[in-house]
């Protein structure tokens, strides 16, 4: 029997980006908050030591910072006719672990989804007619752009994003992204200094008539003090961002932007190595009363609270809802039910170019260092004559020249031996690439549920992912690959190759950690698990924050929108829910 602890106002599951933002906002509003984090405490000075952080073998290859599959695995299949099998190792995506979560090991790409994403169904129907969206479960998210824009602004100023505005209050700005939705003010920091490959890409794209701009980056282009008074250092372009923590305080993460203030608050308590097993509901299933968790010694404890906020990685939020029976399981056959619905991924392709006479110096890198064009993203281009909707941002980033993974060679090169060594020597300075970050739109048969067979070490069913790239997204991606082919021409490279997406999602090779959906926000309780404030329609004292709330995935990285949704939900709680607890949207 779990020992029952004294009640708190709020219990938060997970202390990554969303948990730390909610914790900060709710403690500032005077609530007593306890956060339960499954992984260990992690701090820049003691755990991300600059003296050894650039250990590629330990962090990038052996994945030291990531969630060990022994703690939580998942099963996967491509369609309903298959039997799902557990992923024995995380490959296609890499969930974070410990304080900071995936905010520790990300690259720092900090995008805003567009106004047309939040109103995607309305927007596309108006422009192309309802028939264009057949077979897609696209639906509006709920908030208007005017409502959600200030939350993006808060997250960008928290992180100290380096970038150039492309649309200030409706005025298109030279040098920025002309396709972005209007922003209230400029980025807090100027763009990063561009390396040669990205500069070259920008020049060529401009020649082709496109609109290159610096990728918005949570790597610091200059020292920064954020609104909480936390200081960050200038990026040294060391090239150890993705899969690494930043030892230089130069990449925004919960550790470098929120946690130092949060842990000093007397009304905040953090319990690490504490794994939430279940949210306990009242007998009628209409309210959450507590969470049950195990501590680092394996003892089972029950933490009562007035408000339960799920801030785990998106997939884990969905699993926790299913395990706790918060909302009805989605059924892909009938289309009924909400939890597990609209699971989406990301649809990517890339181009590699090899030259003879360049000096790209790829070791001068950073996670979000590059130039992007959005001319083929979202609905920035006319889809009238195309057999798909959606699109992709196309970026040339220079992230690293790390010695184990970065060995570009021409096709036909042996994989080992003297010829391979010679080719890697030639390729290292002469290779560049650019890639697409493509949208992933929901279809009826892609979804999440609990696996009927495989269980975790506590005896709880694993999450089951049923996913394949939908026809719409494959068509989109092939169209983008066609564009990439054309874009490689003016570079006059010795060798250029463009990848093409194939059906049949494979969970082994790394692709992207941008899993979205499953506990989506929306306007209709029959098609969304959460209302537009990320509050459960079914259990109103549960909020579920993260990319799990995305009703679809756009052609850009999700973290900026995750951060905005965290501030958006926090504001709903502090401005509305505290004063009048209960459903914030009546049906």
């Amino acid at each position: 029997m779990a020992r029952v602890l004294p009640k708190k106002d709020v219990v938060i599951m997970g202390l990554g980006w969303t948990g730390s933002i909610l914790g900060e906002q709710l403690t500032a509003a005077g609530l007593n908050v306890v956060a339960l984090e499954r992984g260990p405490w992690r701090d820049t000075a003691t755990d991300f030591n600059i003296g050894y952080m650039q250990d590629e073998l330990r962090y990038a290859i052996r994945k030291d910072l990531f969630l060990p599959p022994a703690l939580e695995a998942m099963t996967m299949r491509n369609n309903l006719s298959q039997t799902a099998l557990p992923m024995r190792d995380y490959g296609s995506f890499l969930p974070g672990h410990g304080v900071g979560g995936a905010g520790v090991h990300w690259n720092g790409h900090t995008w805003r989804f567009w106004e047309s994403d939040f109103q995607i169904k309305t927007h596309l129907t108006q422009r192309y007619g309802a028939a264009k969206l057949k077979n897609l479960q696209l639906q509006d998210w709920g908030p208007s752009w005017a409502e959600i824009e200030p939350s993006f602004d808060k997250f960008e100023y928290l992180c100290g994003v380096s970038g150039k505005a492309g649309n200030l209050k409706g005025q298109v700005q030279p040098g920025g992204n002309p396709f972005e939705s209007p922003r209230g003010r400029e980025y807090p920091n100027p763009p990063m200094r561009m390396p040669y490959a990205s500069t070259l890409f920008g020049e060529k794209m401009k020649e082709l008539g496109f609109h290159p701009f610096p990728l918005p980056s949570s790597n610091m282009s200059r020292p920064y003090i954020n609104p909480l008074g936390i200081r960050m250092g200038e990026c040294s372009y060391c090239g150890f961002c993705e899969r690494f923590a930043c030892g230089n305080y130069s990449k925004a993460s919960p550790q470098t932007t929120v946690v130092p203030v949060l842990v000093r608050r007397s009304n905040f308590e953090l319990r690490t190595e504490c794994e939430v097993l279940k949210v306990n509901l009242t007998p009628d299933g209409k309210m959450a009363k507590s969470v049950t968790y195990t501590d680092r010694n394996g003892a089972e404890l029950e933490q009562p609270a007035d408000l339960v906020i799920l801030c785990g990685y998106g997939l884990m939020n969905v699993r926790m809802m299913l395990l706790s029976k918060i909302g009805p399981q989605y059924d892909p056959v009938s289309g009924k039910g909400t939890v597990g619905r609209n699971y989406c991924y990301q649809t990517s392709a890339g181009a590699r170019l090899l030259f003879d006479d360049k000096h790209f110096n790829p070791f001068i890198g950073a996670g979000s260092l590059g130039m992007t064009i959005d001319d083929f993203n979202g609905d920035a281009f006319d889809h009238s004559s195309l057999d798909f909707v959606g699109g992709a941002g196309i970026s040339c980033t220079v992230t690293n020249g790390r010695p184990i993974s970065n060995r570009p060679t021409a096709p036909g090169t042996p994989r080992w031996g003297a010829k391979w060594k010679q080719a890697t020597k030639e390729g290292y300075q002469n290779a560049m690439g650019f890639g697409s970050e493509g949208s992933s739109y929901p279809v009826r048969e892609n979804y999440l549920d609990l696996d009927p067979t495989y269980k975790d070490r506590h005896g709880r069913p694993l999450l089951r992912i049923t996913f394949d790239f939908p026809d719409n997204d494959v068509a989109m991606s092939h169209y983008i690959s066609d564009q990439l082919e054309k874009m490689t021409k003016p570079f006059n490279a010795k060798y250029a190759a463009v990848g093409r997406l194939k059906k049949g999602w494979d969970s082994v090779p790394y692709q992207t950690t941008h899993n979205t959906g499953g506990a989506i926000m929306g306007l209709d309780p029959s098609t969304s698990a959460l209302n537009k404030y990320l509050q459960s329609w079914d259990v109103p004292n549960v909020f579920v924050i993260g990319a799990s709330a995305f009703a679809h995935n756009a052609g850009m990285n999700p973290t900026g929108t995750v951060g905005a949704l965290a501030y958006w939900a926090a504001e709903a709680i502090t401005a509305q829910y505290i004063k009048s607890p209960g459903a914030l949207v009546r049906t």
């Binding site: 003691t46 936390i230 200081r231 250092g233 305080y249 130092p260």
Partner: protein, 414 residues
Amino acid sequence: MTSLISRSFARWRYQPRLRSLIPFAMAAATLAFTAPAFAADVEAGKYQAVLGDCRGCHGKDLSGGVTLMTPFGKLVTPNITPDKETGIGNYSGEAFRQAMKNGIAPGNKLLYPAMPYPSYARMPDNDIAALWDYLKTVKPVKKPVNVNQLRFPFNLRFMMRGWNILFFRPASYTDTAGKSAAWNRGAYLVNGPGHCSACHTPKNPFGADKGTALTGAALQGWYAPDLTGDRQAGLGAWSVKDIVEYLGTGRNAHSIASGPMAEAVENSTDQMTASDLNAIAVYLKDLPPSRGNGGGGTGVDAQLRSGRSLYDINCAACHGRDGKGSLLFPALAGNANVRQVRADTVVRMVLAGSQAVATPKAPTGPGMPSLAWKLSDGQAADILTYVRNNWGNQAPAVSAETVGRIRGELHSGS
């Protein structure tokens, strides 16, 4: 608690007049101690605990148990919560005053001057009475502490009698005529409850002050810098505002507090009032330059060349190739810690690393990594010689032997 290894007997400090050991009886003071404790007194007493940095040695909950590594062996700080068995719950107000001002605990037990009674002796009895009122209100913690773990013969408390005769000069603080009220308040805080000279004044072999006060002192692998107006090694280049910012937040454009000073900021100075911080700054800025510290660069050219390239590789990412640091990382150009005659602090930082204090006003608390595993003694010496003699800095060259000595001390845990 090895983080506190720097708190040594060298925290002793003392004044310039002989006196008898007989406790002086003060009727007026006794009156103050019999008065009931009002909330205002408790608040005032809480602030006295801040000024005296009680938590620096006795811990956040004041239950002691913090090990002080001294040149004479281990001292473990006592429990000063009101627990009757293991704390000071059985003290009378007068007994507390005797301990604070004369270093004599009940039973005529002589305290070791790691407890800075020679400084606290300057505190007015009213303030000590308020502090006592406050201490009676903190949560009692039952925690027995074996205080005296000093080596023989230092473990014999009666020896402190001789020490007191030689070095202890109790005196209350009197204002210096012709100086401003702020100056006098600052002088009182620095030399009284703040006990700054415990670390910053050179010590004799008995751990008592010698030479000019606040001109810097080595202690346990750190070098507490010169606080006089010396431009090279002292506070000559700092403004009053700089000092206030440093003490109030743990950082300013010149430096960031780490090591023992981080603890002093976290437990004491960042909770001081703006006017008290200003008073301290006014007083320190008036201290005449020591002239003896800092001084001539003697780096060998080869050492400087080697140091430059090693610096660019290992240090410049944070501190900048121009040595100017950033909003987060301290500048090395013009940094007095870098320019002390003795390089102990900077050698220690390079070898062992350090973490800056985090305060509500500057919550980041950046860390300096340990570089001991990747730099040889000679390489560390070259980097430091370069840093100490570049961008306008001037200080004696650092030898590989000095680095090796401190590396040895760190290994042995002293």
